[in-house]
Amino acid sequence: MQGSPTDVAAGASESRYSTSLESLRAWLDRHLGQFMPAGTTLDGPTVKPAVEMLFVLRGLRRAKVNPASHKWIDSVVDRLWDPAEAWLRRLRWSGLVNLARTRSPSTANLLLIPLLEDLAGRRSIAHERVRLVFAEIPWRDCDDLGFDLAFACDLTDVRPSQRLARRQLRRLVADQASLHAQPSAYYDLTHAIFLETSMGQRRARCPGDLRPELDHCLARGLASRLRTADLDLSCELAVAATWSLPDPSAPLRAGIHATLCTVAQTTDAHGCVPCLHERAVGSPFTFAGCYHQTLVALLALACAADLTETVSADR
């Protein structure tokens, strides 16, 4: 049976980057032990990588990747499930409620559970407890809530955060000069889009009047980050553009394309995406210096298929 134009477009993009995607998945497979939550506390050293891995897997579920990729996602989730449940059994839950009441950033590490549950289609032993903890987070001012806690409350239906995401997006786009002066703040922009779309799971409702400015802002950010070889932020900007703008401008499409080509070349050379924009200290291939870029690069390359499909459908 002949595939639809959408299937063809998605397949073409997956094929174009298939070697790089396979290398990135293989690197993550080899290092999966370092993503396993361990210890007896909420902020153990492997919890953050584990949550970040699950964020990216959630985004990958959305991407039009091929069946082999879905099998890989399922296998990673399967391997993470038992260590995660064992870790949850060791936590002292009575203290976690107080952490939530003081809005401790550590509370957000419990995001691991709803993210994992959603990916696995199973209910964790901590399903109810996690929601009770998040429900204790006090709401002083909606706008002062960071991405992590806002995403946690949104994902567990404790408090929807799309409106917050839209407000943040509008505020950031209105102040592009500040974004350019402090480039790390572009992460706030990508996170507003990640929050609004729940990592690509729902449609972004970018108001029409904001689209040209958002397009310009993303294109400017991509150009700036590529100049400094900041592939991590470049990949996040490319993903955010794919999820938020149905018809990117030519400069933005060029920025996304340049990002994907650079990331694919870097992956082909190293098997992962080491941190290049900082002066490498010692080996650039340490887990800490590679894992985050490797995760978001995987997402960006996989989302290339989404971009192709969305633009084709709109035209």
Binding site: D43, K48, V51, E52, F55, V56, P105, S106, A108, L111, G146, F147, D148, F151, D175, S178, L179, A181, Q182, P183, S184, A185, Y187, D188, H191, F194, T228, D230, D232, L233, E236, C275, H277, E278, R279, V281, H292, Q293, L295, V296
Partner: protein
């Protein structure tokens, strides 16, 4: 734009002489945060330099540091600096989320720049440089 975390950095003069001390921090590729303290007596601690940084999921950023010391007197009078310069700090040492709102005390001698992070110390050698390089 602001950072979601900040720390107060103090600096102790372990050079053995009175010194002009310079400290610089850069988060990711953002602009640097710098401070100079003049005529710091041996053993004294000065500061703080308030530094901003970000923590949280799916963002990546490193903290980079540089220290310069113009030792005005004493047996090791001279000019010293760690790798890099004030505008391009060359020592990477992570500030973790646990350091948010805390005061950290670093120390500089004529041989070592020691950064005492919550997770443990980082060190970087100090080398002899020109007077200009010690304050840039």
């Amino acid at each position: 734009m602001s950072y979601n975390s900040s720390a107060n950095i103090m600096l102790t003069n372990n050079t053995g002489g009175n010194a002009n001390l310079h400290l610089s921090h850069r988060y990711s590729t953002d602009s640097t945060q710098q401070q100079t303290w003049n005529n710091v007596a041996p053993g004294d601690t000065v500061g703080p330099l308030v530094v901003g940084y970000n923590t949280g999921f799916i963002r990546f950023g490193m903290d980079w540091w540089w220290c310069g010391a113009e030792v005005l007197d004493g047996s090791e009078a001279g000019n010293y600096a760690s790798e890099g310069d004030a505008d391009n700090p060359g020592k990477e040492c992570f500030l973790q989320s646990a350091a948010d709102g805390k005061t950290l005390t670093y120390a500089v001698s004529t041989s070592v720049f020691m950064l005492s992070e919550m997770s443990g110390p980082c060190t970087k050698p100090m080398t002899t440089v020109t007077a200009e390089q010690a304050k840039q």
